[in-house]
Amino acid sequence: MKATSAPDALIWRLRLRQTIAVSRYELRKAAAGRRWIVPWVLAAAPVFILAARAVIPGRTGPGPGVLELIFAERVFEGYILRLGIFFSTVAVFVQLFRREVQERTLHTYLLLPIRRELIVSGKYLAGLAVVGMFFVPATGISCLLLLGWHPAALASYMALAAFATASYGAVFLLVGTLARNPIIPVLLVLAFESSSGALPSVLQRFSIVDSLTRSEGFWSLASGPGLLTLAALAGAAYWMRRVEVSYATD
């Protein structure tokens, strides 16, 4: 086994610090630009509705086992995954690089003494924080409000919400770098995800919603959406390495 030399360790420590600094800057910009509003509103909605249901008296509850089904199919899959996380990641991740190009600020990153892949990593982590900090707790609270205290279910749903944020986030980060008009690719992803049940099994593996709701274990997630996430991040990193500032030509 080869020991890591001191300079290498210092370089990697510097790179880690730079990645965290990029994330912190993005979070500062997200706070200043109120980019957290969309995920906040979409994540808060089920929590408020389920909290209201819990405190408003006079409703007869469904039979045993039905609540679990309602939560799994309607609240988690139907709302949190397909609507809340999907559109929150569209709102946050598509804009991570696209906004820099539109506002003519991308060069401020390109002039930093930092590997360009780290800029992608830092921005991606900031996007995860912005969407995840609302949706992971909102999923847990919704589960708690509807099903009561079931630690295993709670942890499982929260982990799946985090995984969905990571996967959709990577896909939409790539969309934001490649597409001049992101609406069409976002609609294509939406159509793919909505019709995943009718797709051949080889394509179904790459459906994020399908993989997360089939619950076939870690390796199923890793080989489908996990690979998709890594490929999307690699694509965004490649774009970042090649990108040039061309919004002014004198």
Binding site: A21, K29, R34, E103, L111, V245
Partner: protein, 311 residues
């Protein structure tokens, strides 16, 4: 030839079929170098190439021995104040600089100290907590300069840095450029304000339609333009006598007498010959001279001769 120079070797850059810069070869020593040219001449393209924001379509660039492809080591060496006057929404001047320094790798305390120092040096100490969107054009120029100086880069590239500045700030900036250049740094400035280029530059690169039309020191460049007559203004007690004696030679082609100040503007094809004549007039006729100046030996005149005067 030195490893501390900026070297462009047959560099071309095209935007599709549109020419940005064409086959540019330059060797720029440390000191203040001005890039001069009209809009569309290729100044910003050349600066973007030197700083790694653009890649050349053809040719090679080395800045103090390093290539722009390696952003990690290259960008720490080059500070660039661009013309792109945009900052993220809602960010203060302090936030902008502090976070940039953190991304350079500084720890929190060091970034805070440096951000305050740099903003103070740029005259933004009191405005550091204000949102950049509330800054004036001049204040944003100061912030660009402070950001370019973050990390103490040995190469500073400034695209129209004096735009939007009041005269006091211009003087301060020019003083700072001289200070940085005298410390052995490269200060590359693009400007279309040519009389300021004369004030600050050690070296001038003139561009037109993507080509470098001349480079070097202004005096030497003027000397190379032999087909254009030189203009000499002589303030003296007997301008008519200077004009008369001038017309007796073959090289003086025009003489115009002025009243305020009292003198004569001579156009000659042999400036050294005219100075010899002037010496003889002083000795033989006791001419009283108050001032002699070459009026077309500045950047503006040389650029005009080279590209047709349309700046």
């Amino acid at each position: 030839m030195s490893a501390s120079d900026i070297v462009l070797d047959q560099v071309s850059r095209f935007y599709g079929e549109i020419l940005g810069v064409n086959n540019v070869s330059l060797r720029i020593p440390p000191g203040i170098t001005s890039l001069v040219g009209s809009n569309g001449a290729g100044k910003t393209t050349l600066l973007n190439l030197m700083t790694g924001l653009l890649r050349p379509t053809r040719g090679r660039i080395r800045v103090r021995g390093r290539v722009p492809d390696d952003s990690e080591s290259f960008s720490g060496m080059v500070g660039y104040a661009t013309q792109f006057d945009a900052f993220p929404k809602g960010i203060t001047g302090y936030d902008y600089l502090y976070h940039r320094l953190r991304m350079f790798g500084s720890d929190a305390a060091d970034a805070d100290r440096q951000a305050r120092d740099r903003l103070g040096q740029a005259g933004l100490g009191e405005a550091r907590g204000k949102k950049v969107s509330a800054y004036s054009k001049g204040m944003r120029q100061r912030l660009h300069l402070a950001a370019a100086l973050a990390g103490d880069p040995p190469v500073l590239v400034l695209d129209e840095p004096l735009n939007g500045l009041d005269p006091v700030a211009r003087r301060e900036f020019i003083g700072l450029f001289r200070e940085l250049a005298s410390a052995g740094r490269h200060v590359i400035v693009s400007s279309h304000i040519l009389h300021e280029v004369d004030l600050i530059s050690d070296h001038v690169v003139m561009m037109n339609r993507g080509d470098v039309v001349a480079e070097g020191q202004i005096h030497a460049m003027r000397g190379e333009i032999r087909d254009q007559p030189s203009s000499v203004f002589v303030v003296c007690d007997r301008p008519a006598e200077v004009a008369r004696r001038g017309f007796l030679t073959a090289h003086v082609i025009e003489a115009r007498i002025t009243e305020e100040p009292r003198g004569v503007l001579i156009r000659t094809r042999d400036v050294d010959g005219f100075f010899g004549l002037l010496n003889r007039i002083v000795v033989e006729d006791r001419l009283q001279i108050d001032q002699v100046s070459l009026t077309d030996e500045d950047t503006s005149a040389v650029y005009g001769y080279l590209v047709g005067g349309d700046r």
